[in-house]
Symmetry: C2
Subunit: 138 residues, 2 copies
Amino acid sequence: MNNEKRYTQVIEKLRAVGLRPTRQRIALAGLLFDGTDKHVCAEDLHRDVINADSPVSLATVYNTLHQFTDAGLLREIVISAGRSYFDTNVSDHHHFYFETDGGLEDINSDEVVVTQLPTPPKGQKISRVDVVVRVSED
Amino acid sequence: MNNEKRYTQVIEKLRAVGLRPTRQRIALAGLLFDGTDKHVCAEDLHRDVINADSPVSLATVYNTLHQFTDAGLLREIVISAGRSYFDTNVSDHHHFYFETDGGLEDINSDEVVVTQLPTPPKGQKISRVDVVVRVSED
DNA sequence: GTGATTGCAAATCTTTTGCACTAAA
DNA sequence: TTTAGTGCAAAAGATTTGCAATCAC
């Protein structure tokens, strides 16, 4: 796919969720939604966007990650205290967490089967079930 | 159970995991391991121990929570960025997370049945499977 | 005594916020 | 124009750390 087409697609993606396609959002969305699933934290993405010669402030990276999350374009994952990761894969799936190095890896939803779930407390409904398979060195 | 007996038990519990029964650890362990399962964060526990007339610094509360976790007396739960909770229930179980107020509640392990798990990557073994059932208002 | 533990205050790190400036519609 | 979005620097939290004083053994 050529650059012009990707650029147009990113703009459409932003408009589709009601976000103005500003230079900063276009740059960040271009890095995030390149067709591959990734887990990024704010610092990573800030570094990448600077390296791509599109200066965006760290505050804007944070704001944008949350706007994208609210818009359903990203999913926030919290595993280790004091750092949030954002997953570009927003479909139903789970994660391996590597205790040794803190890394994350997707698990397809068909590889984890949860056959029984508790009834949520009265007045509450299940919005999501997160399964984290923690692994360590053998 | 009388106070003297509980005091002795707490000291034994600390010695059993190789931690010196200092005044601070005894006070914190006494609050944590009272027989009921609880989820506490450092600030909560610090407030409680101060209220119980056993002054312990916040730094020591943090250090102690991690020492207890390393010793297998507590389990750390990270759900929302920027705050860790510690669970006094270290047996196999899962959690409800209330998105509305950030609250946590235990789910007995027999209420969640995971019938299929992925094979861990080569050289890795599964150390734990955490299931978080996120619920929101109906 | 001697090595482990603690408290304090400062440092660190991530994330959020207020507000003047800039850009999209 | 008009309103949304951005950048900066400062603030806000949570957690960690260095080091001298204190305590358990």
